[in-house]
Structure formats: C-alpha cells, structure tokens
Amino acid sequence: MNISLLYGNSGIHDPELDNYVESLEKGLEQSHAVSSFMLHDMNIKSCMGCWDCWIKTPGQCIIKDDAQQVLKSIVRSDFTLFVSPLIAGFVSYHIKMITDRFVGMVLPYITFIQGECHHLKRYDSYPGLGVLLKEEPDTDNEDITIVQNIYKRLVINFHSELLLFNTIDNTTIEKVVHEISNI
C-alpha cells in the first residue's frame, strides 16, 4: 500500500512526538511504501482562495511551493495519515494549511451526498484518511470529539473514509501499524 504521512510538527520542539513519528515510519516501511512530509520544515503557503485550481488550471494549484509534492503524493496514495500535536484544541496550523490546498482535488460542481451539497470527484479514487494526535495538557474528551467530527465531515467532501482516528497516548505504534496494514 502507498502511504502518505503528513507530520504537522509545531515550532515547539517535541522530541517525544518526533521519535514517535520516526518509529511509526520505520514500522510502516516494513510492509508499505511510505512518503513522509515534515510539514514544519517545508515551504507550504496558505491557499489564496483564487480558485485557479477550479477555473483556470483545473486540478493544479498555481502556488509553486512544497505543497505540490505533498498533493501529488496524496492523490497517488491508498492511505494518508495526518500526525499532529493538538494545539489550542485542534491539529496544528501546518496540517490545516496543507489541507486547505486539497480543494483542487475535487471539482467545483456540486452534488448531493446524504442530502447535502458537496463537491464532485475529480479523481477516480481517493486515499483513506487517518489522524493520530498527541494530546495537550488540557485535552479532554470533548476536544477529541470536536476534532473527530470535523474529520468525519472532511472525508465526505473528499470522497474518502476516516479509517483511523486516535491519540498516541491511547494506542501503541505496533497497534497503529497493525490497524493500517488491515486497511
């Protein structure tokens, strides 16, 4: 399976999470092709809301930065995993910035899914999504539910499924690797 791993490490150095991601990567590489992206170290700009990816250069974001390689990887992957510390109760802004750039992966045209407006597919298939979070000191169940519900919405728009959602505090690397291998 082709896996894209997007690590939204924040500016605050977190050796525990860095080491976790490194070990997870090694564990996944035993059986899968893994492309890892350390988002904090990459040049990824904010979406500009220009819509060129919908109406001028369909499917292609015009911003020439490191996001291009991430988007290519995701579209070709079978499974895309976001790993992020929770900061102020949500994934890091690095994860959010790259997610905003996913918009060109769908068409501007609207369809109804579950009775709601959503965007039509551009590609024939989309990778399953996974989210692994590291809790903050004040994280509670409400925070986890809020984030999970937002990701459940995201997968509707991206014609995908949320196949994994957990915190690193709640599971082990071995269990995560096993869960992903059974996808």
């Binding site: 369909p58 579209v75 802004y93 910035m97 709601e116 551009r122």
Partner: protein, 220 residues
C-alpha cells in the same frame, strides 16, 4: 466598546468576508461612542495581530469555511493568541460564512470555536453562520439587499448591546439543511445546466473548459 474585527479570509480585501464586515460596520457605526478596527490575518505578522487582540475588549473573528473548518491562517492566529495569558475579560464572537447554502456545514467548527473561547476563559458571544455567500460579488447589489440588511442590523444591535441579535442569527442560519423540496428544485436547475453555469462561465472565460476534468497530480 473597543472592537477588533479579524478578517481570516485568504482573499483579504477582495473577500466576501470583507463585504459582510462592511455591512456589519454600517450598522455598528450608527451608534456613537464605540471604537473598531479591521485587521487582516492573511500575510499578517501574527505577533502584531496578537497585540491588537490584547488591546481590544471585544473580538469578532470572521472567516470563510475552508475544508470544513477555519482557514490555516486563522488556526495560526488561534495558536498565537492561545499562548497569551489573559482573555478572561474579553468578549469573543465569530462569523463563519460559506459557499454551500446550508448552515450545517459550519456547525462543526462552531463547536470548536465555542470550546476555544472557553479554553481562553473568554466570554463567548456566539457564532453567526451564513451559507450561500459564494457569488455575492457577481450579482447586482439589489440581490444582496436582504443579506446586507441582516448584517446591518447585526452590527447596529451589536453596538447597542455588545451581543449578536439572536433572531438575526436564527434567520441567517437558514437553511440548516436543504428540504426535500429545495433539493428537488436544485436538481431541476441542475438538469438544465443552471447550477454549473457559474463555474462553466468562468472556465470558458479562462479557456479552460475543455480541461475541467483534468487530473494533473496523476501526471508526472
């Protein structure tokens, strides 16, 4: 009241968020004695934005729904102000606008915004949700009269009471979900090509219509 409005749209001064803010301020400035500032988060120095946040007693953050929650630049701002020590004397409200017509899309980030304000020990003023905002700059101004009047009233009442008018919020929040009838009507429009007209017109103007289904990220 010292109000700081933060516009979190990546389109900055060309944004629909700016237009809604202008209508809000049209009402807000009818009542004398209150201050306000409008601050754009896109390409801003976040420390400067945090300073403005700290100096205000009332905050409104307005942004378009981006992939089911806030744009990345708004999250960046949240992370910056999250590290500040004292928001307990601040009143914080939000306006979330989206292209999709239904309010339901924005109710998930709404839960985050309420929790975020609580986390900051701020006083949560609520979240105004308004769908169907895409295209408001492309229609004759008369078509937006009802919308603009609603935001005028929101701003006017906000200046008087320091709160969002709940009746206006409930009106703006419709439709929450599309009724079966509304979906049927939209489907009929779709069959006549009307729902895609907006996008196809721009694609044709850009000579990109033939490439509208392109899959560039599969091509090396």
């Amino acid at each position: 009241m010292k109000l700081a409005i933060f516009n979190g749209s990546p389109r900055r001064k060309k944004s629909n968020s700016k237009i809604l803010t202008e209508q809000f301020l049209r009402g807000y400035t009818e009542i004398p004695g209150n201050e306000y500032s409008v601050n754009y988060l896109m390409a801003a120095n976040m420390q400067d934005m945090a300073r403005i946040y700290q100096e205000a007693d009332t905050i409104i953050i307005i942004f378009p729904l981006y992939t089911d929650c806030m744009p990345g630049i708004v999250k960046m701002f949240f992370e910056e102000i999250n590290s500040l020590s004292d928001s307990s004397s601040k009143n914080i409200g939000f306006i979330v606008q989206s292209g999709f017509p239904e309010a339901i899309h924005s109710t998930f980030v709404e839960k985050y915004l309420e929790k975020f304000t609580r986390r900051m020990s701020g006083n949560y003023l609520g979240t105004v949700i308004k769908g169907g905002i895409e295209g408001i700059q492309e229609v004759p101004p008369g078509r937006n009269k009802k919308l603009f009047n609603a935001f005028f009233k929101l701003g006017y009442d906000f200046a008087k009471t320091g709160a969002f008018n709940e009746q206006v919020i409930q009106k703006l929040r419709k439709p929450y979900k599309l009724s079966v009838w509304l979906r049927a009507i939209i489907y009929v429009f779709y069959l006549f090509g009307a729902t895609n007209f907006y996008w196809n017109k721009m694609l044709k103007q850009n000579k990109a219509y033939n490439d509208r289904y392109a899959q560039p990220y599969l091509v090396d």
